[in-house]
Symmetry: C2
Subunit: 476 residues, 2 copies
């Protein structure tokens, strides 16, 4: 009954997924709305997920030899205009500082929407010789893009992200890094977020403003829509020429460098919520869950119960597991609901009879399976194995759903039917912008990424010979 | 001879300390100037120090039960004016966003100089009952204060920091937390930065705009000037009343909460440079040094040398020590100079004869002592012990200098002579603002903190009975 009450607070996941999402992120205290329209406050439970994402991602960057740095928030307006496509893409959504220190500024300053320009400027200052290359840096920071329609984590005027920027002596190296970072993101999505993704090249229409080529990873949300979860960009010499990133080669001649960049953001939190969640609320992948195991005492006022719960928590902590004992005054049923909604992967219930028998009851949030009689003395091994199994199962479930929901289409009507049914649609495309625009107009679907396997014979729109095979979908 | 060349690139530390500082931070690539006046770029070597500071500080906050969160960068201008003293203190130095998304904003938005107002607003939304208290949060973020005179790390228009904000049901609890966090900072300064500090209450003139009381920690720089290295603030109900942070007490009545805040910033990097550095450049405290041990191969082209260096590095890494092998083409002498300037605490030199004899040569950056014949097989223990000893010695050296350079004064002339000689001056003060202003005018010295030991009988300025004993100093 208590359970019913909780469930009723969250909108139906099948019939009103947008409201389900809002209910879940607000009620679980991941996030709240900021006072300025379109801004969000990331609350401790949400920020702890971001910290885990950062920790895992940052370790991968460091292992790959990338170093962190920090570049200024404010960018001179004149920098934005140095790369023609870049300013066209970003100018409409920048926030501008016009006054500071009580006076009007001589030149307006843009709050960074992304940092290619200012980092390009500094690279131009730092790079002199081929010996200085490659230069590979990353920064964790806030960025701002003034958006009309916003949703917590998915699209807000300010968000947190990492942006990596590298400059190489040759285009081949920069292109290779663009691929390497895409693979790093894919591996991260799989192993840390337990989230399958499609990766591939973006169309000209969908690429980053100023890039030669953009590559993305796309994840399928519960409602069958796609979410762009990370991108990598090969810039060629566009930004190097705009900002004078030149070096003396080993042959003594002056050359421009080749740059690339890559980024993921707090949007990943939205992605994992909409990939794994169910009617009861969040289902957090263990590698990023702020609490991996919650221990709920049963009859907690009975002698020895809380002590046993705390002792178990200490043992799990020592084994490197993030654990919490809920010793609040609430009833066990209330606690079950609360922590299920908050998506804690594993719950252990421990009462006087369990303790006496050296046993514990274990509940899996993802499958809702509950079993008693687990050996208390083997808790570390049991929990570690279970967390690992949950990762695998979460991935497998999401992967099976995505594969089931990728359908082919030869016609616009088929494509429309596919996306209406909550699918990604795999279809041929002639490569013309007009056909891409037509698909958008007809089916409100966009080209998410090009498939490496290029086997569709004809364009889904014009029927001419296909140049690419594309994953089309509605997208967040 | 090579050494001479290096040394000559850095201005004299005794006769031109400001230029010494600039030379060191730029030449060691800790930092560079950003394109907008007063901004800095924190380069990888500098940012790695900040990451180590963050890691150590964040672990302390988490152990104390403080949770991280993230609040928006942009604050409505109207928020700033809700606390009268606060707006007076910060309005002159804020940067203001007036346009965004291609249109003029209805209300200008302030780039946060500090977040009491916006966090107060959210606390007002979140706190309802005494059960919600205390609420203790921290954020790691960028802030902006438009300064006229700027210097990298010490004073820049944008800097990175942490700001902790708590709300309690009673003033006693909030005051206690203000003290606890001051002690946490003091312990951090001692054990992580190897830096002695004076802690105590600030005068009304020097307190945070909007606080009831501010407490600070002050460190003595190489030139005898003081640097404010961290502050904690007790706000009473000032911000709670301004932002409606009210809760229903256990007795059923509605009350205002009591808030406090605390912060340290990238300024700490400036502090440790100016505390420990010498004529050769940086001397980094091991707990925050990006590289704790550099291994320099001698005759590195000889068979087995690089292999032995790399094997040693692997062993030290496994022991949790941050280590780097410099296998570049530069000469050993060049490498010695480079890493001495960059302040790496320990250098190990390893050549064919050392390897054959199972020995290594060890150099201490802080004392410039070098010894050969250290057992290679005991490297982990030897290096770990040495790093610990360096911490202790760095602290002891700085502490002895600070204690030597705290002098007493009974008159303004005595105070002036004291600060002219590069000292902190301990003197009585009647508590009147006029006398504090007079000291500033006469000796260009400010009241850094009040001493808990209050034993000076008369005011250094007016000669009346002293109310406080104050540490006066010139300050950064």
């Amino acid at each position: 009954m208590a359970n019913e009450k909780f469930v009723s607070q969250i909108a139906d996941i099948e019939t009103d997924f947008p409201q389900w999402y809002t209910d879940v992120v607000i009620k679980t205290k991941l996030v709240d709305y900021g006072p300025v329209k379109g801004t969000m406050v990331i609350r401790p439970y949400g920020y702890a997920i971001w910290e885990n994402i950062q920790k895992e991602m940052d370790a991968r960057f460091k292992a790959a030899g990338v170093e962190n740095a920090y570049f200024p928030l404010l960018i001179p307006m004149s920098f934005m205009t140095k790369e023609a496509e870049h300013v066209e893409g970003f100018a409409p959504e920048v926030a501008v500082v016009t006054h500071a220190g009580g006076a009007k500024l001589e030149e307006p300053l843009v709050v960074r929407p992304t940092s290619e320009t200012i980092i390009g400027h500094m690279m131009g200052k730092w790079v002199e010789s081929w010996r200085d290359l490659p230069l590979r840096m990353n920064q964790w920071c806030n960025v701002m893009r003034w958006e009309k329609t916003t949703r917590p984590f998915l699209r807000t005027s300010e968000f947190l992200w990492q942006e990596g920027h590298s400059v190489y002596a040759t285009g081949e190296e920069a292109e290779r890094e663009t691929q390497n970072m895409l693979r790093l993101y894919e591996e991260f999505a799989r192993n840390v977020l337990c989230m399958p993704v499609l990766v591939g090249r973006k169309t000209e229409k969908e690429k980053f403003a100023g890039a030669v080529a953009t590559f993305g990873m796309e994840a399928m949300m519960h409602d069958g829509k796609s979410l762009q979860a990370g991108t990598t960009h090969y810039m060629g010499q566009n930004f190097a020429k705009a900002f004078g990133v030149q070096f003396t080669g080993s042959d003594g001649t002056l050359k421009y460098g080749y740059t690339m960049s890559y980024g993921v953001s707090t949007r990943l939190i939205g992605a994992l919520i909409m990939t794994h969640g169910d009617q009861r609320g969040l289902i957090l992948p263990p590698p990023v869950a702020p609490v991996e195991v919650v221990i709920v005492p049963i009859a907690q006022k009975k002698e020895g119960v809380l002590e046993a719960c705390n002792a178990l928590a200490e043992r799990l902590k020592k084994a490197g597991i993030r654990v919490k004992v809920d010793d609040s005054d609430n009833s066990p049923g209330w606690k079950f609901n609360e922590w299920e909604m908050k998506g804690v992967p594993v719950r252990i219930e421990l009462g006087p009879r369990d303790i006496e028998g050296g046993r514990m009851t274990v509940f899996r949030r993802d499958t809702l399976e509950k079993g008693d009689g687990y050996s208390l003395s083997d808790a570390e091994e049991i929990v570690a194995a279970l967390l690992g199994q949950i990762c695998k199962d979460l991935y497998a479930k999401a992967d099976a759903r995505m594969k089931e929901r990728i359908v082919g289409a030869d016609t616009l009507e088929g494509l429309l039917g596919g996306v209406n049914g909550g699918n990604f649609v795999r279809a041929g495309w002639c490569g013309e912008r007009a056909c891409e625009d037509k698909v958008k107009e007809f089916a409100q679907a966009t080209a998410r990424v090009l498939d490496e396997k290029n086997d569709m014979p004809t364009c889904v729109c014009c029927g001419k010979k296909a140049k690419h095979t594309v994953f089309f979908a509605r997208a967040y």
